[in-house]
């Protein structure tokens, strides 16, 4: 049974000054975060494939908001992830040993700051932290990994601890997420920066390869998000990868209601509507979309269980 005293509060999870602390996850293996950089024109690198999925029974990717316009959404999202992945003792849920991935970044409170903030991409590290409260055996714990495009001309390192950064400039507020076993950076050759969607096709390919290996299911969880997230939904559905939307988190996740119903008129954001329209135009299987209300995360837990990602207790 979950030991709730070991599930950190928001303030404990994002402790001031520890935004770059890798020990919470990677210390279990005695290693840091493995870093692989590859070109989008290459096949999925074997080290990424094996390290992300070795011995796991499922492969869940979390797509969604990498920033929140409303600051109140941060603790709300944190609370949702805690409840969804079994951190609330009234809704016990044990995550299986799955690969759980997301964008490989962490958003800081401010450029150059040393305190992280809650976004969808924190889900793997947080879910891992909760899973540890259910078992002391590292063989039971999920494997966290992240993917990110190279969005700047150069990478860099600097600051007080010579930390690795996704841009040479220190004034950026996005750093590599430290709560990962593996970070996979994708680039379009050595000279061309990508947009924030530069990694999508390759990581979806990884989900497909894993699903086709017959070792387990691949799935996509959507928490809020904008146009990039909607594109992830489109790419996932093209590969017949099931999608779970958290309705109530806003934007792309909420708009999945309209997508599932086939009527996109109510979607305000062009970037979201455009990709969901493509889903309709291509006749992709909307039956692969499942929704749950954020006020009732047990609906999401049931989907996770049906996918083999965890067990309702």
């Amino acid at each position: 049974m979950v030991n709730t005293t070991n599930v950190p509060t928001y303030e404990e999870f994002f402790r001031p000054g520890e935004a770059r602390d890798t020990t919470r996850v990677s210390s279990t293996t005695g290693r840091g975060v493995a870093l692989v950089v590859s070109d989008v024109n290459e096949p999925v690198p074997a080290p990424v494939l094996i390290r992300a999925t070795k011995g796991v029974v499922g492969n869940l990717n979390v797509a969604g908001a990498t920033s929140f316009r409303d600051g109140a959404m941060r603790p709300a999202m944190y609370d949702l992830v805690v409840r969804l992945f079994g951190g609330d003792p009234s809704m016990p849920f044990r995550l299986n040993r799955i690969a759980i991935g997301s964008g490989g970044t962490r958003v800081l409170e401010a450029p150059g700051a040393y305190t992280g903030t809650m976004t969808a991409v924190e889900t793997p590290g947080l879910a891992f932290t909760i899973a540890k409260t259910y078992s002391d055996n590292p063989d039971d714990w999920p494997r966290t990994w992240g993917h990110a495009p190279r969005t700047h001309e150069t990478l860099g390192y600097g600051g007080e601890e010579s930390s690795f950064q996704l841009a040479e400039e220190m004034d950026k507020d996005t750093i590599p997420n430290p709560l990962l076993h593996l970070l996979w950076l994708l680039q379009k050759g050595a000279t061309t920066p990508s947009g924030w969607n530069g990694d999508l096709a390759k990581y979806i390919e990884l989900l497909r390869i894993y699903r086709d290996s017959l070792e387990g299911q691949s799935g996509l969880l959507v928490l809020s998000g904008g146009g990039v997230t909607a594109e992830e939904v489109l790419l996932a559905l093209r590969e017949e990868i099931p999608v779970l939307g958290a309705v109530g988190t806003g934007r792309a996740a909420d708009a999945l209601v309209y997508l599932k119903n086939g009527d996109l008129d109510m979607i305000e954001e062009d970037g979201i509507r455009r990709h969901y329209q493509t889903v309709l135009d291509e006749g992709l299987d909307r039956g692969l979309i499942e929704l749950f209300d954020t006020s009732q995360p047990d609906g999401g837990q049931r989907w996770l269980q049906n996918m083999g990602f965890g067990v309702l207790l």
Binding site: E42, P43, V44, A46, P47, L49, I50, R51, T53, K54, G55, V56, I209, Y210, R211, D212, S213, L214, E215, G216, Q217
Partner: protein
């Protein structure tokens, strides 16, 4: 109704062209499967095929499968995935006589394959072993589909022809390119080593080459593996079966070879399962259950 993750019946064929030298030819979904083996080990079974000799009967594959733990075998296994079939006896029927291949009426389900180490894969499958396996088949000539078989080699000078063994669950067919498909049998072990290197480097798997009988191709493979740079923490283990005949036996008795590569291990057939267990590539005997397959 088939479940999303349920394997289709028969052999799942993957096709790879080695012409793309910048990209490895491996099947990535099978790499995921191999890396998922419960025991973090990969075993390459190599050796006798068409010329192994009938004295071993049909039991070579079963013997090797049981040596790897039988129904408890829990490693990743790489081997060839072909079977060789003696040409039909003259006079069986006009169509058989004309092509030197078994016609549909006398083919599928009615012919017996020659003994070969490759049948280790189908034996493990029949035993429902949790081993993760993939069979490798280099294209030696034009591939043809005839009488229920995928024929990969049909050289008139041979008194046998070779087909893909459809009892092997997963099979990677290797060709050079579509218009120039021909490879050599050596490419099978080269691709095996590609898989094994990735599993050793990225999945921390230990590796074993198990050589039983075999001819010049097996000898080439053994010489190559023996000479690979040795990593004390994770050596390229090579185990020769002394009384299996031909290449494996000759190398095990080759004093110069053994002196040059002292890490190479050999044993007799009756010792094989114990040696494999001792080396950590099979579960302890107490964990093994009698095979229940065919």
């Amino acid at each position: 109704m088939r479940r999303p993750n349920q394997k289709r019946p028969g052999t799942s064929l993957r096709l790879a062209s080695l012409i793309h030298t910048k990209e490895d030819a491996l099947s990535r979904r099978d790499l995921v499967r191999l890396a998922a083996s419960a025991r973090e080990c990969v075993v390459r079974v190599t050796g006798g095929a068409a010329l192994i000799g009938d004295g071993y009967g049909d039991d070579v594959g079963r013997f090797l499968a049981e040596s790897l733990g039988g129904s408890a075998c829990d490693v990743a296994v790489l081997a060839g995935a072909t079977m060789s079939i003696d040409r039909p006896a003259l006079g069986l029927c006009i169509r058989c006589d004309e092509l030197g291949l078994h016609c549909p009426a006398h083919s599928y389900g009615r012919v017996k394959s020659k003994p070969g180490v490759m049948s280790v894969l189908m034996n493990l499958a029949a035993m429902n072993a949790p081993a993760r396996t993939i069979g490798l088949v280099p294209v030696i000539g034009d591939v043809s589909l005839y009488a229920g078989f995928v024929v990969v080699s049909d050289k008139p000078e041979n008194d046998y022809y070779t087909v893909i063994d459809d009892r092997c669950p997963f099979c990677l067919v290797l060709q050079f390119s579509t218009d120039k498909p021909t490879l050599s049998w050596d490419d099978e072990w080269r691709v095996s080593i590609d898989y094994m290197e990735l599993l050793r480097n990225d999945a921390q798997h230990r590796s074993l080459h198990l050589a039983f009988n075999g001819g010049v191709v097996t000898r080439n493979e053994c010489l190559h593996v023996a000479a690979l740079p040795q990593d004390d923490d994770n050596p390229w283990n090579l185990l020769l079966v002394e009384d299996s005949g031909r290449a494996a036996e000759a190398l095990s008795n080759d004093l110069e070879f053994r002196r040059q590569f002292p890490h190479v291990v050999s044993c007799r057939m009756q010792e094989l399962s114990g040696v494999i267990r001792e080396m950590g590539f099979a579960p302890e005997e107490s964990q093994q259950t009698p095979a229940t397959g065919e």
